[in-house]
Symmetry: C2
Subunit: 288 residues, 2 copies
Amino acid sequence: MNLNTDKKILIVGLGLIGGSYAQALSSKGYTVCAIDISQDSLDYALQKNWITQGSTQPEQGFISQFDIVIFGLYPHDLIDWVESYSKYLKRGALLTDVTGVKGSVVYRVQEILGDDVEFIGAHPMAGSEFSGVKNSRMEIFQNANYIVTPTEKNTQYAIDICKELGQILGFKTITVLSPEQHDEMIAFLSQLTHCIAITLMTCRDTECMTDYSGDSFRDLTRIAKINDEMWSELFLLNKDDLLKQMKLFEQAFSKLYSYIENDNREEIRKIMRYSTSQRELFDKTREK
Amino acid sequence: MNLNTDKKILIVGLGLIGGSYAQALSSKGYTVCAIDISQDSLDYALQKNWITQGSTQPEQGFISQFDIVIFGLYPHDLIDWVESYSKYLKRGALLTDVTGVKGSVVYRVQEILGDDVEFIGAHPMAGSEFSGVKNSRMEIFQNANYIVTPTEKNTQYAIDICKELGQILGFKTITVLSPEQHDEMIAFLSQLTHCIAITLMTCRDTECMTDYSGDSFRDLTRIAKINDEMWSELFLLNKDDLLKQMKLFEQAFSKLYSYIENDNREEIRKIMRYSTSQRELFDKTREK
């Protein structure tokens, strides 16, 4: 156990995820402080006792006291912050993040930082269709996956601390992937699914249909309620991987289209049987 | 109230939906009997007291006693059954069904039948990824939609009885649509969503990803576990409508692809904002 409760933790960016981190970590006895541009968000977390101190200003006197710094910022804000303020960080501090894309963030941040502090990427695969600290709930980490994405620059110490952080936060599964493996996987499992949901929700007039929708349509469009600022940034930062996965989907969809067009019932049934057996693997994983 | 408990009800085809109908109707005091090719299914329903009598044979002496006949069969089996056995039906009997496509079934059945009996189409929009009478549960009708699809041949009496049946079964919303309106709507809300789910589940190797999937992927692929016999038939019977909706989806998906390819963040955000506002309409309907 390296991440003992002596370590002082700073959360930079107190949104849905940052707030949920603050709640989980403070409930486990850690001293958690936060920086956010909104005094309102800080006040909310202070009042909930999720943080002991908050600041809207990234001042050296404040920042330099923390052993662990967790960035709950959008990718470009994270890079900007590190460029401007990393000089204020405590020597030996460990930095990590919650960003949903890795390749375009992790290497850049590590490049900016000197040898005094270490940054290791992590992706808590949890969220909500509602944003902001007032929707934070540490329960979103239960049954969720936490992925640590080290590069060759990272120490084993940092990897261990980061995995431990995932455990303390309450994640069910903690794994390690390279930034590249992470980005390909996330392009398929998460970004492509959001592309599909928003396309389904917008490809035709549906207002006349609200009375008729069943669980299928509701399930497929739940994530069509989307934070456009965050997700458009994530899509474009992972553009090559996402386009590749979109293309795979599009080709398979066109094939199914042509089977239906040609009344090729045997091929349609073959896809459906394969789909059924593949989906069962995911049910089994959940039961584990 | 026309559909009083004096009416004797026959269910032909005791699968998931037929069984759930039997359970719901018997619990409301109706005399329910069933025909099914499987003695096992009949025995299950008899033992549960969902039916008072079951037969594997469509014999005249048995069939001729029922006022209401509900077909829980696949479309082509329904048409075959009506062609072979409708001559045994009681004069004045009212027939209805549970089929997921209407245009290709309703007109054909009405054409086969003489003036002695009346058929009116209905679609209970409820289901489960599990099939068969042993998975029947009348609770699947709660919060679900029931759509009556009359043609010009139907009487107001039949429409009223059929709507009443939906109420007795426990459906939340009962509406009336033409077979054509129904089929267009179902092509989009249900068939297209199943096409998307099975494509997503089969377009690439995913076995390496089972540990990383979040709620998004699970939600979008829940219906990828699919009864290939039934759904391939439903797809092909509603081919023109389905292909039209698939094309709409495909075009919108390609447009999103090109916005991402060209880093057109403003257009991506515009789609996301529209998607968010459209999805909220469906949340509102649920709350009603």
